[in-house]
């Protein structure tokens, strides 16, 4: 779950989320490298007095700072493409859960084996007990089996909603009249 003043991702609860976190760390490293280089240039323009003010153009320099960013982009893009296609891999899910968004609750249907349907309302703050997380806890929780492939079909009954589990790295819009599969 999300903790107070959390800046990073939640710990991954699925291997895909773990790969997303790794890619995020990789891209952040490259970004910090670029920002350090640019920041150093900025500060040295201000502090270093040995600056040539008459330099108007320099073709080798321009060639260098066009080629090197293209290499950096390749380093970012290859893991990104790999992850993009990894996220769309097909599996054989063991269970299917239908998630339907309403104003303002979710209803879930587990219809594989038993016909199980229930609504999931948020617990209001004035009815919550000591151990309830404010604005996060619900009365009927969605239970998903551990270490299995799960298919979720997400839709909505009235307006657009969005269903997400940050720790699993899934988010899909719940569009009325449409089934989105995660």
């Amino acid at each position: 779950m999300s903790t107070l003043a959390a800046l990073n991702f939640q710990n991954a609860a699925s291997p895909l989320m773990e790969q997303l976190i790794f890619f995020h760390d990789h891209s952040m490293t490259i970004l910090i490298l670029i920002i350090t280089i640019v920041g150093y240039n900025l500060i040295s323009t201000y502090t270093n007095t040995n600056i040539d003010q008459h330099m108007l153009e320099s073709q080798p320099l321009e060639l260098f700072w066009t080629i090197v960013p293209s290499f950096i982009l390749v380093f970012i893009g290859l893991p990104s493409i790999r992850l993009l296609y990894l996220l769309d891999e097909v599996y054989q899910p063991s269970i299917t859960i239908k998630t339907i968004g309403h104003q303002w609750y979710w209803s879930y249907e587990y219809s594989d084996f038993l016909n199980l349907e229930f609504d999931s309302y948020m617990i209001p703050s004035n009815e919550s007990e000591n151990l309830n997380f404010r604005l996060l806890d619900v009365d009927n929780r969605t239970v998903i089996p551990f270490n299995t492939q799960v298919r979720t079909l997400i839709s909505a009954a009235d307006v657009l909603h969005s269903w997400t589990v940050p720790a699993l790295g899934v988010k899909a819009d719940a569009v009325p009249g449409r089934l989105n599969q995660v």
Binding site: M1, T3, L4, Q10, N11, A12, T49, Q53, H54, S125, S128, E129, N130, L131, N132, F133, R134
Partner: protein, 178 residues
Amino acid sequence: MALLRVIPRKATPSVFMQQVARLHNIERDKIGNREVVGWGINGMYSYVDHIAFPMPAIRFKENSPEIMALKEREKGDWKKLSVEDKKALYRASFCQTYSEMRAPDGRWKSITGWVLFGISCSFWIYIWEKLFVYPPMPDTITNIEKRQAQLKRMIDIRVDPIDGLSSKWDYENNRWKK
């Protein structure tokens, strides 16, 4: 003052030079009696003290009789010039020395002062917001029993077990890891 006119002939180099000469004649009115000694920064007759341009286009002072006399003596033996003469010759052509140009001017003190003043203003605004604008914190944060019950539940449901909260709890011995 003569203005540049559109010349209805083919623009040859000599025509261009005539226009340049006319422009420089305009500028010569502005600089008084000062001598033109070079190209300067951009060819215009201006005096600028800059560390990247050691030789401005014009001398700094107008040619007075004393300075002309000094210049005559400058054509002779330099050992006969006193230090004061040499300094006067320098100051006739230039306003500041390089040391004076590069000398620290203390602007960083006022800049730092104003920046800190602005930061402190934002702090005062934040204090005003805390006192008069924000509603009180919900009791899930202010009530310590609720915070402890929530924390225990977070540990029980294994929130962030890899490198977050639950990774720091020792489940065998029921206490925080050392």
